[in-house]
């Protein structure tokens, strides 16, 4: 069985880390990459998307409600909404913040695990809180692949450390190693 979706969570220092990860994602990998990056409710709509778009060959889009999930794209959670995954499409919510965050990485990851089960790859990057840990554990529990940025290389190590504590079997890699590892996972398929 093949992997179908990559979900990425990042917070403090996330934009730089995300750019670096995507720079090292081999062109042959066409899985949709869905990103929840913490940011303030007032952060300029489309700003993160525009920054990444300037840098990447891949199309980068800020998600609108019920957008279909297409191959080869990078999807960004809009500010002040939770981003959830359903089979084949996205859904948004304005429910309460989870651990002070909206978008919440846990909400994205848990919905991805529910909708895609073992066909999900979850990646937790730099951040100064514990969001994403529960979500990554859910992905691993449902048979998906869990990857955590090496805390020693992260701008803020709390988030990757918390993710590792919750999902001990996760693969630990520096940013440049994550893209190639995703390519390997795709080549081998879900074990």
């Amino acid at each position: 069985m093949a992997y179908e979706l990559v979900v990425v969570g990042c917070s403090w220092g996330g934009l730089a880390a995300l750019g670096r990860l995507l720079d090292h994602l081999p062109d042959g990998v066409d899985l949709p990459v869905v990103v929840a990056q913490h940011r303030g409710p007032d952060s300029l709509r489309g700003a993160l998307e525009a920054t990444l778009r300037r840098r990447l060959e891949r199309p980068v889009v800020e998600v609108e409600d019920k957008d279909p999930i297409a191959l080869g794209r990078v999807y960004i959670a809009p500010p002040d909404y939770h981003l959830l995954v359903e089979p084949g499409s996205f859904a948004l919510s304005v429910d309460e913040r989870v651990r002070h965050a909206r978008p919440s990485i846990d909400v994205l990851f848990e919905s991805a695990a529910d909708a895609y089960g073992e066909r999900v790859i979850g990646v937790v990057l730099t951040g100064a809180n514990e969001d994403g840990a529960a979500g990554l554990a859910r992905i691993a529990e449902r048979g998906g692949a869990a990857i955590v940025q090496d805390p020693g290389t992260a701008e803020a190590r709390e988030m990757p450390e918390a993710a590792l504590a919750a999902a001990a079997a996760a693969t630990v890699l520096p940013l440049e190693g994550i893209g190639p590892h995703i390519a390997e996972l795709c080549a081998v398929g879900v074990s």
Binding site: R45, E62, V63, E64, D65, K66, P78, D80, Y81, H82, L84, V85, E86, A91, L92, S93, V94, D95, E96, V107, E110, S111, D114, A115, G117, R142
Partner: protein, 286 residues
């Protein structure tokens, strides 16, 4: 002896699939027992809300919740609150109110009397925000706002107009960014641990129960505001609600959606033009 019970072909045995069956049964039960129809709500956010209630009731499964909800109307009340409260804030998305002043207020000024429908008004923050804006634009006196929600308990809170004191700083900042022309504190007085908004703001507001899923159009409106409500619906239900809005809009009426919503699921998308593309404010032109 071998097990005689096998799962249906195509219906796997995974936990997710089993839970989907349980949720379908719960929603069917709620519909038949209480008449509330959540069967076409967007599954991912619905599942999160159901699990919040399951944990709060100290239950362990969707089936457990089904048993309790079907036998205990008080538990259904609690679930209904979970499923129908949409978290919002006064002047949420200040840029929307700036655009409303700029694009919509001048249109309203051309009418002697206008009707505005705030559909899915929840606890009323948006209604009071709109009333303040209209008062400042000197339009309130000739406007009637119809504020509807599926949930009576939520409407009671909206009617009361009492909001938490600790929110006022954030609301004041929103109000200023939204182009407010007075001091925000002129609109409320402190009351116990909350603030009470001026009753004059709801003089021209009709709060009424209305279910977007099952109820029909009840008037003709110049403006319909429905922000971040339909994100909780699946596409086919969104399409039906869009039809309801289309049928409820006067010619040249305005439809305002949330920042990340669109007319993509509307069967009448071609009948609208954009008044403000960023703020998702549309005008019915056909």
């Amino acid at each position: 002896m071998a097990l005689q019970v096998e799962t249906q072909a195509g219906e796997g045995t995974s936990r997710e699939e089993l839970e989907r069956v349980e949720i379908d049964l719960l929603l069917e039960g709620i519909y038949r027992r209480y008449g509330f129809d959540f069967r076409e709500y967007a599954p991912a956010s619905l599942r999160r809300r159901l699990w919040r209630r399951i944990h709060a009731e100290r239950l362990e499964s969707v089936s457990g919740l089904q048993e309790k909800v079907l036998h205990d109307p008080v538990c259904m009340e609690r679930l209904l609150l979970d499923l129908s409260i949409n978290v919002t804030a006064m002047f949420r998305d200040p840029s929307f109110y700036v655009a409303f002043r700029r694009e919509v207020a001048p249109l309203l000024r051309t009418y002697p009397f206008t009707r505005i429908w705030v559909a899915g008004c929840s606890t009323g923050e948006e209604v009071y925000s709109l009333a303040i804006l209209l008062a400042e634009e000197e339009l309130y006196e000739r406007t009637r706002i119809y504020a509807t929600d599926i949930n009576e308990a939520v409407l009671d809170r909206a009617r009361a107009g009492v909001f938490a004191l600790d929110k006022m700083q954030a609301y004041t900042e929103n109000y200023i960014k939204a182009g407010g022309t007075r001091a925000f504190s002129e609109y409320y007085v402190a009351a116990y641990d909350g603030v009470q908004f001026a009753r004059s703001l709801v003089e021209n507001v009709v709060f009424a129960q209305h279910n977007l899923v099952s109820d029909r159009s009840f008037n003709e409106f110049n403006v319909i505001v429905c922000r971040n409500v339909m994100i909780y619906f699946d596409r086919s239900l969104q399409g039906r609600v869009h039809r309801l809005f289309y049928e409820s809009l006067a010619p040249l009426g305005v439809l305002a959606l949330g920042h990340k919503e669109s007319l993509a699921s509307s069967p009448h998308a071609e009948a609208f033009e954009e008044l403000d593309a960023e703020e998702k404010i549309f005008r019915r032109v056909r």
